[in-house]
Amino acid sequence: MVRGWGLILCAGAAMAQGQSGGIPDLRMGRQFYLGHCAQCHGPEGEGGRGVNLTTGQYRLSRTDDDLLRVIQGGVPGTEMPPSRLPVSDIRRVVEYVRSLGAAGAQEKAAGDAAAGAVVYGRLGCSGCHVVAGKGGSLGPSLDSIGLRRSLKFLRESLVTPEAFVAKAYVGASAVTRTGERVTGVRLNEDDYSLQIRDAREKVHSFSKAKLETFRRLDSSLMPAYGKLPAVDLENLIAYLSSLRAAGE
């Protein structure tokens, strides 16, 4: 934890230097950021389809050169594509992303994380999500969710979960010719077959030719928690924000 804060403070210092010596670069960096990155990482770096950039801690990038490489090459296996911007422009984006890190240092959840952990247990979240090795695999692991997602994003995910569904957790529904309906996570699909993991974590493989209907779901498989008492919601957000395991 101490080391994490140290990094954020360092990022803040770097920003201060950038501001004194290179305001035009930072402004240009913001322009590029808004055009090329904000769509996924949010206009203020708060995250969305892409990770929260305001924490100042990036799992794949310790140095500016690391960040540059990630932006240039993308992150294979994720939705982060490579960028073909000239290196000089990517450096401006790196500088701007570093400046976002300082803002994140001030973000603190209003609720009580310990009480939120109780809400998490009561709602049965672990039926679908893993924390510290315990839980189901229908939804994404939450071990480092506090590092990767802003408070705003966490709230949105709980209240309107369909606002963003990661590609690996898109739902699918299939109805067989005998009327059996199976809904779950779409594990794989080609032109001829569809593989679904249902809520009980059973894997089904269907030949599309033998299905009555099948479709990709626009909504999330996760229930919406907008009607949760406000205090529980705030506490749950605080708990999720406290999950910051490194090295995932």
Binding site: G35, L85, D190
Partner: protein
């Protein structure tokens, strides 16, 4: 006589010579696949009929050849009298017994440590003439090998690879000239098409595809922008031996997404050029997308055919262009005859009577980004279409996908990206693909077979009435050429990014495709 008897007794394959006349008459020996496209006309079609809608359910793998390379497999093999020649990316050549997949020889080519290519160190195929097998390389050389042994016969440098030049496509032979294209359009290379003497490798001519000061269309480039203007020639063209004209598609102008530094139409980018094969002189050109800013290269192999059009028998050329329009041209004159969209497009109101697109406002790249269909990868891409003379249909693997196009600064430095922007997926879009059958004389879509994702594999029609293709998910499939009905598929286990071919040995028909880095040959269950 005694020697021949000995060879026959040992079951040895006599490696035949391939004179030019055999290449011209390729359609009359359907058991072979003598050029990149199966014939000079770019048909990508097999005259074999053993595998057909009635028998295709018995199609099964007969052999596999593991390439053992980490590079993408995009090669189209050649087959000559029972011997298959195939490239292993980046630039190795392998000769196989086409009936068993057993290796006969291998030529390994060592590339420099750092080569500069936008889209993978790949090779897409070979050419053959006499006893020579020809290949161009990622580091911009042209090679001739002895077809019997793989021994290097000659080697000629095309350009300096350190400046972003390379070559990934199969050459074609036009009489005594080897016609070779090049790549490097994302690096400010200046495009060209070369003609080499097949016997010696000496360059006979070069046609530059960006019009310099000595070209009548020099005014189509602002200032010196022609020097770094791209218009590269990275996919194999077609050839009409009667007219002795080579038809070759050209790539996007550079920088790709920012046209400010290259005002004008930027000839001969995004065009097809008709060149005299003996001299390299341009007979005509047709530009599909003037002053392109969406990376819509026009390198798709042109397809040549003859038909009556508007009451007159004509020599025709067609292309399903990356800009999502199908075009029909007169290949003697370059006259524009018709255009019609074959995939989703949001950038042009229409193609006017001269063949020039009427652009819709708000579709050019900006700093904030503009969503446009088709994507930079186009309504189709480098992989081959196929023409069936039996069905009189053009089959195209198409991509329904948009992208957000961004404009940025475009500083040039040799060997580095020269793009002036970039492109990203449209949020929330799940791109799809299709195999479409297009009526060549009207551009109408006759049937569509939808695919889950936008394909990267070519198609091949057969006289047996089938159309073969491949998917990103690894399925190699056969459709009914008349209706598009899905008749057969085989899961290969890796993404298919190559063209299928068909050939025959000892009276048996085979269909072959590279899937991932494995070459698979299919035949009927006996």
């Amino acid at each position: 006589m005694k020697i021949l008897s000995f060879l026959a007794a040992c079951g040895m394959v006599l490696q035949a010579q391939v004179p030019f006349e055999r290449l011209v008459g390729a359609d009359s020996e359907p058991q072979n696949w003598l050029t990149y496209s199966g014939n000079f006309a770019g048909h990508q079609h097999s005259g074999l009929k053993q595998i057909n809608p009635a028998t295709v359910s018995k199609l099964q793998p007969k052999w596999m050849y593991q390439m053992r390379t980490t590079h993408k497999g995009e090669s189209t093999p050649l087959v000559v009298d029972g011997v298959m020649y195939v490239t292993r990316s980046p630039n190795d050549v392998i000769a196989l017994d086409a009936a068993t997949g057993r290796k006969l020889w291998e030529f390994d080519y060592k590339l420099p440590a750092k080569v500069i290519v936008c889209c993978g160190q790949v090779n897409r195929g070979l050419a053959i003439l006499g006893g020579h097998v020809f290949m161009s390389t990622v580091d911009a050389w042209v090679l001739a090998l002895d077809a019997r042994s793989g021994r290097l016969l000659w080697k000629t440098q095309m350009a300096n690879y350190l400046d972003g030049y390379g070559s990934t496509s199969a050459p074609i032979v036009a009489r005594d000239k080897l016609i070779v294209g090049m790549a490097g359009g994302e690096y400010g290379a200046r495009g060209f098409i070369d003609g080499y003497d097949v016997a010696t490798g000496k360059r006979a001519w070069r046609f530059y595809t960006t019009a310099g000061p000595d070209d009548p269309n020099a005014a189509s480039w602002a200032g010196d922008s022609w020097k770094t203007g791209g218009a590269t020639t990275w996919t194999t063209g077609a050839y009409d031996p009667e007219l002795n004209l080579v038809y070759w598609g050209t790539g996007n102008p550079g920088p790709d997404y920012n046209g400010d530094v290259r005002k004008g139409d930027n000839l001969y980018s995004d065009s097809v050029v008709a060149l005299d094969a003996a001299t390299g002189k341009r007979k005509w050109h047709f530009q599909f997308t003037p002053h392109d800013m969406h990376d819509w290269d026009s390198n798709q192999t042109p397809v040549l055919f003859n038909a009556e059009f508007r009451g007159r028998q004509r020599k025709l050329l067609m292309q399903a262009n990356r800009n999502a329009f199908f075009y029909l041209l007169d290949r003697e004159t370059g006259e524009f005859l018709l255009a019609r969209p074959y995939e989703k497009q949001t950038w042009a109101k229409e193609i006017d009577e001269q063949g020039r697109p009427v652009r819709l406002p708000g579709t050019l790249p900006t700093e904030a980004g503009v969503a446009v269909w088709p994507a930079a990868t186009g309504g189709t891409n480098w992989y081959s279409p196929s023409y069936s003379p039996e069905q009189k249909l053009l089959y195209v693997a198409t991509r329904e996908e948009g992208e957000v196009f961004y404009r940025a600064a475009a500083p040039y430095s040799p060997g580095n990206y020269f793009l002036g922007g970039e492109h990203k997926p449209v949020p929330g879009e799940f791109p799809t693909g299709a195999i479409r059958a297009i009526s060549p004389l009207t551009g109408e879509i006759v049937w569509t077979h939808k695919l889950l994702t936008p394909p990267w594999a070519g198609v091949m029609a057969t006289a047996g009435g089938l159309v073969f293709g491949g998917t990103n998910e690894g399925n190699f499939f056969a459709l009914d050429g008349a209706t598009g009905k899905d008749l057969w598929h085989f899961p290969t286990g890796d993404k298919i990014t190559a063209n299928p071919i068909s050939y025959g040995v000892d009276g048996k028909q085979y269909v072959a495709i590279v899937a991932g880095d494995v070459l698979i040959s299919f035949g009927l269950e006996q």
